[in-house]
Structures are given as C-alpha cells and as structure tokens.
C-alpha cells in the first residue's frame, strides 16, 4: 500500500508541477488561442493531479487530502520527474519553443504510460484515472506536435529556437524511462508500468513528429542527479524550491484557513 501511495504521488506530482509551469503562460501566450489552449492543458493536468493526490492520500490512510499533499509537503517529498519542474518560460529560463518541446516529450511519454495503465492496471482506480487521462493527453500531444511542426518548419529563426528548446529539455528525457524501485515492484504486481518499457514507443512517436518538422532527437546525455538520485527519489533541481515557494506560500502562511 505504501508503494501504491508513492506511485500515485509520482504520477500526481508530475501533473501538478507541470500544470503549475504551464499556467505561468496565462495572459502571456503568443496569441489568444494559445492562452486558451495552455490553460486547458494546465487544467487537465491539474485535474489529473487532484485525482491522483486524493487517491494517494486515501491509500496512505493518514488523513491527508489533496491540499495537505500539495501544500504541506517539503521539496524532498515531491516525487515528480525533473522534466516537469524546470523553468521553460515565459520567464528568463526559457521560451515558447522550450515549453512546446517539454510538452511534446512529456505528453508523449505520459500518454504511452496512461494507455497501458488504462488497459491493464490491476488497480481499478488507477486504471480509471488513466482512462480519463488518455483522451486529454492525446490532445496535449497533438497540440504540442502541431506547434513543433509550425516552429520546426516555420521560419529559420523558429527552427533554431525549436532546436534550442529540444536541447534544453533533452537532458531530462532519460529520467522518464528510468524505473524507480517502487515502479518496479508495482509493475511486478501488474499495478504500475515499468517506464523502461515505454522507451521505444515514445522514441518512435517523437521521431515521426520531429522528422516531419525537419528536426531530430538531440544527441545529449541524460542529466545525472546527485549520487544518482532523481526526481522520483525526491531529489530535484534548484528550480523546484522557487516553484514550491510560490505554490505553497499563502497556504502555509494561513495554516488554519479554509478555502
């Protein structure tokens, strides 16, 4: 049960943290339609996060609800992959191309993962959450793919930026396919998916999109974590603390409050 709770946190934190990043675009997107689309995707992921954190809290059985888990955990208790947390803009750490590059990779990976969970997780709640998520993620992936084509095959400038965006996010890709022991144990029980199994499928999808956009997968190695510990182990990048400070400050400043 502790494993299942941890697994729900992993998948929930991925969605929560990326949702927080995507929502930063709100009122800053390159066009109005994109403001709507980014908010949409952020909302879908936030919805997934809420279901998964709620489920994690139930399985844990210590009385923590989605808000206790989102607002009152410390950084090392967050289990998301680092790809979700890095600053891809609109701030100084990135831009629209980097955002799209991340979304393309993330949604392709998560769609492959959720498809398998939906089809065959022995945990019925997880299977149901994944089934709902599959439709959303297919849209996210399609949206990111469309923009990858437009930017990759748009102007010279946009092509260069899309390449730079891919280079920026690529070091975080290996981690997506690096199984944590919790994932391995649960995969053995038919509850989770071993992410290593997803690699060829995801690579295939990315190759098709990138090829059509006149791009290719960067030949960059995966970014190691300190002593080999990664996001799933609660070891993050320096960007994570700032993200959580903003996310949690008000909730922490008024601990007894109801919202």
């Amino acid at each position: 049960r502790a494993d299942l709770a941890a697994y729900c946190l992993m998948l929930g934190d991925d969605a929560l943290v990326l949702s927080q990043r995507l929502a930063e675009w709100c009122s800053r997107a390159p066009e109005l339609e994109e403001d709507v689309a980014m908010a949409n995707i952020a909302l879908d992921l936030l919805g997934q996060a809420r279901l998964l954190l709620t489920r994690a809290g139930e399985v844990e059985g210590a009385g923590r609800d989605e808000d206790a888990l989102a607002y009152f955990r410390d950084e090392h208790e967050f289990r998301n992959v680092r790809l979700a947390e890095i600053d891809c803009g609109p701030g100084p750490g990135g831009d629209f191309a980097t955002t799209i590059a991340r979304l393309l990779v993330f949604s392709s990976w998560r769609l492959a993962l959720f498809s398998r969970l939906a089809a065959g997780s022995a945990d019925p709640v997880l299977a149901a959450v994944a089934a709902k998520g599959v439709k959303e993620l297919a849209y996210h992936r399609d949206h990111a793919a469309q923009w990858t084509l437009r930017l990759g095959d748009g102007t010279e400038h946009s092509h260069a930026r899309m390449r730079a965006g891919l280079d920026r996010v690529w070091p975080f890709v290996d981690e997506l396919f690096t199984p944590h022991e919790v994932e391995q144990r649960l995969a053995g029980q038919g509850i989770a998916v071993d992410p290593a199994e997803l690699r060829s499928e995801v690579d295939g999808v990315l190759d098709v999109v990138l090829d059509r956009a006149g791009l290719s997968r960067p030949a960059l190695p995966g970014l190691p974590g300190p002593a080999g510990r990664l996001g799933r182990d609660g070891v993050h990048t320096e960007a994570m603390g700032y993200l959580l400070a903003e996310l949690q400050h008000l909730a922490r400043a008024m601990p007894g409050a109801r919202w």
């Binding site: 929560l16 927080q20 929502a23 930063e24 709100c26 009122s27 800053r28 997107a29 390159p30 066009e31 109005l32 339609e33 994109e34 403001d35 709507v36 908010a39 949409n40 952020a42 909302l43 936030l46 919805g47 996060a49 809420r50 954190l53 989605e66 808000d67 989102a70 607002y71 609109p90 831009d95 629209f96 084509l149 437009r150 930017l151 095959d153 748009g154 102007t155 400038h157 946009s158 930026r161 903003e246 996310l247 400050h249 008000l250 909730a251 008024m254 007894g256 409050a257 109801r258 919202w259």
Partner: protein, 309 residues
C-alpha cells in the same frame, strides 16, 4: 435613404441588425469601438486574477481560477470575432490596445493584493459587469447580442463562484474575514465607477440608447447594482465602505454616496495604480510572441503552397 429607413425600422421593432445589413457608419464605428473595448477588457482582465493562479491556496480554487481566466480569453475571442463581422481587424485592434489608443475597463487598473481580491472581483466586478451586460443581450447588433448571451451566462457562474469563495472565507479564520473586508473596502468604489460617469456627464449615452446599443443609463444601472449588492453584503457579513449607504423607503432604492470622480478621471487618463503595468505586460506578451506568430504564418503558407503543388 431607403436603407436608412429600413435600419431605423429594424431598430424600432427591436429586431437585430445582422452583418450583411446596411447600417450607418456612425453605428458601425460606435459598435466596433464598444465591442473592441469590451474585448480588450476581457484580455487585460486576465492579468489581475491571473496574478493569483500560481499562489491559489487550494487546488480546487486554483482550478476554478484558471478556468475563469481561460474563459476571459475565450470571451475576448468571441468579441474580437464580433468586431470582425463589422469589418474590423483583430491585429489592428490589438495594436490600438497596446499603443494606448483604445480603452479597456478602468477596473483592471487596480492591483489584486490578496486572495480575497479574487473573490471580491467575482462578486463585485463580475456582478457590475453582469448588470452592464445583461441588457446588451438584447442589443440591436445580432452577433454582439449573441456573444453577450454566452458571456453573461459564464459571468453569472463566475460571480457565484466568487461569492461562494467569500462565504467560505467569512466562515474561516478571523484573518480571513479581515482579508475579505479589506478587499471589499478597496474594490467597492471602483466597482461603482464601472457604470461610467453620472448621466449628466455621459454625452454618448443618448445616441447609444437611440440605436438600442445601450438600454439603460449609467445611473440606472449603478442603482440597480447597489440595490442588488447591499443584501449580498449583509448576508456575507461585510460592511460596504460608504457611510451614506442606507435604504430609502420613498424611492424604494438604496441611497449611496458619490464615487471619487476625480480618481475615475485620473485612472481613465492613464494614471491609475496599474495602467502602465497592465499595458506593459500586454505589450511584452505580444512582442515576445511575434516570432511564434510569424512561424505559424510561414508554416501555413508553406502548407498551402505544398497543397497547391
């Protein structure tokens, strides 16, 4: 002249003018200006509330707020589409907004300083907007009226959500109650100013009413809003910051004090607490996104060329 008579008859019969119908130039220009201003208000209005998305204190409130700001972008899109039926160009209107040549609602030139502001904006600002906009659902120009029906529906929903947030906060800690009161104090008078200057100082009202673009005067709408809001404030348990506010049984309305019209004019003239900030934010988003829009056009052109080849 025949066209003009037909237009006048349509208006008099309370029927809709549609895009292909003949209409006087002044009517067209007035509508474009008004709808564009309304669209700009939705877009600029994303900022004060968007300011709290990353910091919303519960995931449910974060989702509600994000969805609301998304709706505002959607409203902007419908409204720009309505101006396009009148022959306006969205890129041109955006340029006018960014260069400060067209207005947006002054209310968005005030800062959101606490999360209670999110609730109070829903309650008072959306409430006032609805008072202004419900009559526009019957406005004489068809596409505008239809956009307003959809928008009003969504705004009523936002208004209820804002009020519900405030109810929740008022049943929370003492600190939360103080936040709600303090936010109410800051937003009350600016909300009253949303109905525009007193009728005596509103030169365009008469023509707009004749054309049935507008259906009530500023002061009528303001009174309606006050009458609607005072009981809500009582239910909530907050005090509206107006010592002159009291029920007048003879009029059957609440009497209330005079907003600070000097402040109103100053904000309108561009010197409110956030005018410069809001425009700079919009301008920056527009400029930072230029290369993306160019890429999308270039791609579309290539695709069209490929399809043609």
């Amino acid at each position: 002249a025949a066209l003009e008579q037909r237009f006048a008859r349509t208006i008099a019969a309370d029927h809709r003018i549609e895009p292909r119908d003949w209409m006087p130039d002044a009517y067209r220009r007035t509508l474009i200006r008004q709808i564009a201003q309304h669209a700009h208000s939705e877009i600029i209005g994303m900022q004060p509330e968007g300011n709290w998305i990353s910091r919303a204190p519960s995931l449910r409130r974060k989702a509600i707020l994000l969805a609301k700001v998304q709706d505002e972008a959607g409203h902007g899109l419908y409204l720009y589409a309505a101006t396009e039926t009148l022959g306006a160009d969205r890129a041109d209107l955006t340029r006018k907004l960014i260069e400060g040549r067209q207005r947006y609602s002054s209310i968005f030139n005030y800062p959101t300083l606490t999360f209670a502001d999110v609730g109070v904006i829903g309650w008072l600002v959306d409430g006032a907007a609805i008072c202004n906009q419900v009559p526009l659902c019957r406005t004489s120009y068809g596409p505008y009226a239809r956009a307003m029906i959809r928008i009003c529906k969504e705004e009523s929903f936002h208004q209820r959500q804002g009020y519900e947030l405030l109810l929740t906060m008022m049943s929370g800690t003492e600190q939360q109650r103080r936040m709600v009161q303090e936010a109410t104090d800051r937003w009350w008078w600016p909300a009253l100013m949303m109905f525009g200057p007193p009728d005596a100082d509103s030169p365009n009202t008469a023509q707009s009413m004749a054309w049935r673009i507008k259906r009530d005067t500023n002061d009528e709408l303001r009174q309606k809003f006050v009458d609607m809001t005072v009981p809500q404030a009582e239910k909530l348990g907050v005090t509206l910051p107006d010592p002159e506010l009291r029920w007048n049984p003879e009029r059957g309305h609440y009497d209330f004090g005079t907003p600070d019209w000097a402040e109103f004019k100053q904000v309108l003239a561009g010197n409110g607490p956030c005018n410069a900030q809001r425009l700079a934010h919009r301008r920056r988003a527009h400029e930072d996104g230029a290369w993306v829009r160019e890429a999308a056009s270039a791609y579309a052109a290539k695709q069209a060329a490929r399809a043609a080849a």
